[in-house]
Amino acid sequence: MKGDVAMAKHLLSVLVENHAGVLSRVSGLFSRRGFNIDSLAVGVTENPDISRMTIVVDGDEYVVEQVSKQLNKLIDVIKLKKLDRSESLSRELALIKVKATATTRAEIIQIVEIFRAKIVDVSKSTLTIEISGGTDKVAALEDMLKQFGIKEIVRTGTIAIERGNRIIKPNKNEEE
């Protein structure tokens, strides 16, 4: 992240209709208006007709406001909420394939334990590690593993949910 206060990463939670083409409507909107998506994660919700997108937007207040307003104009967007970082939990999941030899394997396993990550696959020359957590935690583990040689990283992008009893419903923001 850059030191510039005005430019920041913003979390948007967006409920959309679960049908073909919605993802391309949303991503197309970002590209043609010149907005930067940091990550976009999408999955179905408790209601199979509705999907939720968690979008991390890189930009200042102007950009986030424009993104939100333009997204709200899409017919397939049902509900959009900008999440307050302190009032929400965000996680991402990463799979990291790292080089491992007989001599380094034990040290890697130790680091993995410290991070409460998991070894999910092993071969003679690699270990594959699964970690979930905030973006910072994933980045910290990645940093620790660099010394052994990272062969591949796969990340899901951030998903987020509000803390406490707040939920985002298709019609109105409500507290229960």
């Binding site: 333009q70 104009k73 017919i75």
Partner: protein, 556 residues
């Protein structure tokens, strides 16, 4: 009752009150056309020469009538030929439903003959679009498409229907039309109170009346607001006719081709009130020096327009008709303000002007004569370029939907199709397309359409044998290097018109103008093309050079 998809489509169009569609058939639309054939007593189909003409005609029809315009094309090239027309409608918030045939569902995605992903292509230029793969969903999709096209800020919607869906049979029942709900107003009492206070306190307010005022039918509300508080009114190109062009408080267009009065008024103003306008770059020019002394109030139905191109101090989102009603009821009445006197002084000092010449045919003179001879009551469509700006400047528009022009996209070739659509929608009016020879050349085959359907339009070609607006820029800003803007190709437009079966008239001298226009106006069922020979060096003034603030305009 059991109907096939094509019949369901027709029934749904009838439900929506559609009695005319513009289109061109083809293989994947053939079953739809079969249903149209059977429904020809209820829905008139206008066969254009080219799908682009159909899209512009549907657009012109929609702008002239306020109803949703409908165009139909087949898959592949038929669908892509609609694209420019859909984009034109999107930029100017025109309600349109475009229907395209598509290959059968089992051939989708296989690069089949005349297959194109038209929903993908039109995603950024439609309010919404659909591909229909299931006949049971068709009726509700068509109904929803019409609601989306006309509600809130209007715009085009495309429905792509697979051929097997147009043939498949299912149950159909008519549903009553959904009456449009009350338009939302998202203005708090605090915002309204604040707005009324700043309007009352302002000494030099200016209103910008945009295309949204005509769309919302809020022209009366703008007039009452302006008169009560004595606020001068400028319009955007799209806003022409939303305020009476002959009113003492009217200052003309603002921006790149604005009047000196409008541009000075905006630059001097302490409160700039934009109503149903979107602060296009053609209005603002240099954003940091636009209305530098003013607080900005923005009244619009589309929240995404607030703060998009300029920072707004007083946003008011919602139906402008209702918002203006409340404002006008609550503000102080003002009379004989210094500001109004100053504005009227400027209007006298800086009128639009051109060098009048009894020997030379001037485009401005032609438009002025057309204005007089039509008693200011015609609907004017335009092409794009110098012809468009002269038509905007020298005809005084007093009613909404009277000036029809591609403002946002700036589509050359738009005017002729739009003129045909507008004339079919408003048979009670004379509809005249002001064209340049460059724009006319683009879609002139639609003259054949006007002849076939006996649409008595008039095309007034301001023929300077050049692409005048670009040439003017080349002269003013590119050292007179006329790169590819001379089109002196010797085309005889009179003979061309006659070849199509239209009436062609050539005019080369000022004294011939009245007779030619009068003769054209008397034609009842034959379109007329008048070829006005004008000077290639006649320019559009005023003009604000690119990047300059609007008060630094060039007058001559």
């Amino acid at each position: 009752m059991k109907l096939n998809g094509s019949e369901i489509l027709i029934e749904c169009l009838k439900e929506q009150g559609v009695d005319i569609v513009f289109g061109f058939p083809g293989g994947q639309a053939i079953i739809i056309y079969d249903a149209l054939y059977k429904a020809s007593n209820d829905i008139r189909h206008i066969l254009t020469s080219h799908e682009q003409g159909a899209s512009h005609a549907a657009d012109g029809y929609a702008r002239a009538t306020g109803k949703v315009g409908v165009c139909i094309a087949t898959s592949g090239p038929g669908a892509t030929n609609l694209v420019t027309g859909i984009a034109t409608a999107y930029m100017d918030s025109v309600p349109m439903v475009a229907i395209t045939g598509q290959v059968p569902t089992n051939l989708l995605g296989k690069d089949s003959f005349q297959e194109v992903d038209i929903t993908g292509i039109t995603m950024p230029i439609t309010k919404h679009n659909y591909i229909v793969k299931d006949v049971t969903k068709l009726a509700d999709i068509v109904r929803e498409a019409f609601v989306i096209a006309r509600e809130g800020r209007p715009g085009p919607v495309l429905i792509d229907i697979c051929k097997d869906v147009t043939a498949a049979v299912t149950d159909f029942e008519h549903k009553p039309l959904k009456t449009p709900g009350k338009k939302p107003v998202d203005v708090t009492p605090e915002q309204m109170g604040e707005a009324i206070r700043v309007i009352n306190e302002s000494k030099k307010p200016v209103i910008l009346s945009g295309g949204g005022v005509s769309i919302a039918g809020a022209n009366k509300e703008v007039l009452e607001f302006s008169e009560k508080a004595e606020i001068p009114v400028a319009t955007s190109l799209m806003g022409l006719g939303s305020f009476p062009g002959d009113h003492e408080l009217y200052t003309g267009m603002v921006g790149m081709h604005g009047t000196r009065t409008s541009n000075l008024a905006v630059s001097e103003s302490d409160l700039f009130i934009a109503i149903g306008a979107r602060f296009s770059d053609r209005i603002i020019s240099n954003v940091s020096r636009f209305a530098p002394k003013a607080k900005i109030m923005h009244i619009d139905i589309d929240p995404a327009e607030i703060g998009k191109n300029i920072s707004v101090h007083y946003p008011m989102v919602g139906d402008i008709k209702e918002i203006l009603g409340t404002i006008t009821d609550s503000i102080d009445k003002k009379k004989d303000t210094d500001w109004k006197r100053k504005i009227i002084g400027w209007k006298e000092e800086f009128p639009l002007k051109y060098i009048k010449d009894s020997n030379e045919l001037k485009p401005q003179y032609i438009i002025e004569r057309i204005y007089e001879l039509t008693k200011g009551d015609a609907i004017i469509t335009t092409e794009v370029g110098q012809n468009q700006i002269w038509a905007a400047q020298y005809y005084k528009y007093t009613k909404p939907r009277q000036f029809i022009s591609s403002g946002g996209l700036g589509t050359m070739g738009y005017g002729l199709g739009a003129c045909i659509g507008a004339q079919l929608g408003r048979p009670d009016k004379k509809v005249i397309n002001i064209a340049g020879d460059g724009s006319f050349r683009m879609n002139l085959t639609e003259i054949a359409t006007a002849v076939e359907y006996k649409v008595p339009i008039i095309v007034a070609i301001l023929n300077n044998h050049v692409l005048g607006m670009v040439r003017q820029w080349q002269e003013l800003f590119f050292g007179g290097r006329y790169s590819s803007t001379t089109i002196d190709r010797g085309t005889d437009f009179v003979a061309l018109a006659e070849a199509f079966g239209a009436i062609g008239i050539k005019v080369t001298k000022p004294e011939e103008v009245d007779a030619a226009v009068t003769r054209a106006l008397s034609s009842k069922d034959v379109p007329v093309v008048i070829d006005f020979e004008i000077d290639k060096d006649e320019k559009v003034f005023p003009i604000v050079p690119p990047g300059a603030p609007i008060y630094e305009l060039i007058d001559e």
